[in-house]
Point group: C2
Chain length 375, copies 2
């Protein structure tokens, strides 16, 4: 993306901030910093911050040893840098003076900060630099901005999807009785690495371990008649794809077969039923009510989905408590699952983009991967 | 490590908390949670917390879909879990009541929290759950605990070191004029993956890009006479090794050759001069004063080193502002560097453990990797 894209996003954030009555927004390494400046960094014990003021100004704070990289990657010439031995406080003060010339007069400064990303460490630094800091959560502002993906973002997610589906195919080729979960995970990872720009990995869980929705890969050996799910995440040029498929090692018994049917149908209902204007709660109910009606409600222990883009979990969440309407351009997962303790779990996850007409699935790998008839 | 190790660590933390006059300590996913419970998790939008009380009690809070994993990995039976749709507040309240029965009486609760790890999101949740919360930074308490590595930890770091040195060898084999930085990085990564328990990677920077101390790998082609540094991090069973070596693509010109000499000598001085009782500042000066005396002080733009263990950067920091004495059992890096803008940078980094007699280097890969005579 070119620099005008980032400038435009900052202008839109500034306008939203002004509407909300905040003087500016501070973003830290993570998705919002990438979205607003193009800079991809990890949080560390050396704070890096971007301050966007309500009039569209921008000030960058970075440790000295990152400053040149920040300039190169963002094209922003003026970086308020600091040496390890000096610490960041002076740089934070000079950055704030750049965009808020009145900050030292003692007037209250209303700053949006990322509640889900800012650590107490960084907050205390801001609090020390600003005579009267009035914080609020910038999460809703940035979520609104990032929720509707622009075409360049969708194209990037689709490239990540191509890799995640290649990894799914590679995983499927390895699943059989006698293989281990780790064998399957390594096949996935090798497939991901074939794309030089992609990183990623995932979790594989088989047999009774698959009943833990967030199990990590183990060295467990897969046995005949078991379900094996693989939940795979790929990050490519900053954008994420996320898929889950449930493979089988030989025909399933009737109980797991029934669970598989129920999950597939719940997933299809939500995927085909999604519409703009429906709330996250309503879409969650499309999958959940069906599963509950089939008698498995207590075994569907998580939400139906989550937004994705620069983060693997971001808004909108497809969950009973999300009363905000879904909008065209949003990208999110639909991934109901049913987990029978001691027996196994089935989850089927797609990434979809919402259009005026409904959800278009970006992931198209076959969803029903069962073999033969129930044994 | 067995469960008694974690129980012992929690008892020591509880004793330290009591000494400091705090009622308990809250730790979140990350190094401290691993250290105290064995649980390896990443922070997410679903909070997970462990609360250690001053009398050694422990309460765990986890999202429902992680609860079984938490029980399995920690052996802790009582987990205060919460469903996505309910949110975490009730679970936080019941966990606090478990270890602080008086919490609901409105008495002030003094809690140590991780300033470097806790987000405003989690802090506000605690603040809502506790009628009168008095926070303080738990960082110094946990740093003291984690600083001195026990023999089992040192053994794990040494296993990570073996992998990081294998990756160094693999990188060196690829460096030559015409290869790209990415070629070198991929050779490192492939070597790391040969160990099933290891993950990791690193950065490779060549030519004028090597003058950025934190440059990331690019597709730049290496040319004759250039320096190429590789900074490699390996995580194995939770423990980290971190190495930097500077390779060359053909003999260096006199200026870079001189820089290479100066960095090697500064690194040797600090490595051989380190002693318990010396402060982090004093050890930093052993490398820095030499570099400054040779006229390159302004080009050594970062601290001399950082602790490592469960984190790639942790205390003790080898930096001018660290006035605390170093202690036997601490593991840290020694990594001076000199970076000439537009020309290139040289850094040499070892991982050392401090003993009563001095520093023992855990990394032993050759440090002077120059070819032939200066051209």
């Amino acid at each position: 993306m070119d620099r005008s894209t980032f400038e435009d996003r900052r202008r839109r954030l500034a306008a939203a901030a002004e509407r909300e009555g905040v003087d500016g927004v501070v973003v830290l390494p993570g998705a919002n910093l990438s979205y607003l400046t193009g800079l991809r960094m990890a949080a560390s014990e050396r704070p890096t911050m971007a301050v966007v003021s309500g009039d569209g100004g921008l000030a960058m704070i970075a440790p000295l040893l990152e400053a040149e990289k920040v300039r190169r990657e963002t094209g922003i010439e003026k970086v308020h840098d600091y040496a390890d031995e000096d610490g960041p406080l002076g740089a934070v003060r000079s950055a704030l003076r750049q965009v808020f010339p009145a900050v030292s007069t003692g007037r209250a400064l209303r700053l949006g900060v990322e509640y889900l990303n800012m650590r107490l460490f960084e907050y205390r630094l801001l609090d020390e630099a600003v005579p009267e800091l009035v914080p609020s959560d910038a999460g809703p502002l940035t979520a609104e901005l990032r929720g509707r993906k622009d075409p360049a973002e969708v194209a990037l997610i689709e490239k990540a999807v191509a890799v995640v589906e290649r990894a799914t195919r590679a995983a499927r080729a390895v699943v059989r009785p006698g293989a281990t979960e780790l064998d399957v995970a390594r096949a996935m990872e090798t497939a991901i690495r074939e794309d030089e720009l992609a990183t990623g990995g995932g979790s594989v869980a088989s047999g009774e371990r698959s009943a833990m929705p967030h199990a990590r890969t183990s060295t467990r050996t897969i046995r005949d008649g078991e379900v094996v799910w693989a939940d795979i995440v790929v990050v490519r040029e900053g954008y994420v794809a996320d898929i889950t498929r449930t493979f089988v090692a030989g025909p399933l018994g009737p109980e797991l077969n029934r669970v598989y049917d129920v999950v597939l149908e719940a997933q299809r209902r939500a995927r085909e039923g999604a519409r703009p204007g429906m709330t996250g709660a309503e879409l969650d109910a499309m999958a959940r009510d069906y599963i509950t009606g089939q008698g498995f409600g207590e075994y569907f222990t998580h939400r139906t989905g989550h937004g994705l883009g620069l983060e693997v979990h971001e808004e909108p969440y497809i969950i009973r408590t999300n009363e905000r309407p879904l909008e065209p351009g949003q990208v999110f997962t639909i991934e109901p699952g049913v987990y029978l303790p001691g027996k196994g779990g089935v989850r089927v996850e797609d990434d979809v983009i919402l259009t005026e007409e409904g959800a278009r699935s970006l992931t198209s790998y076959p969803r029903d991967l069962r073999l033969g008839r129930p044994s």
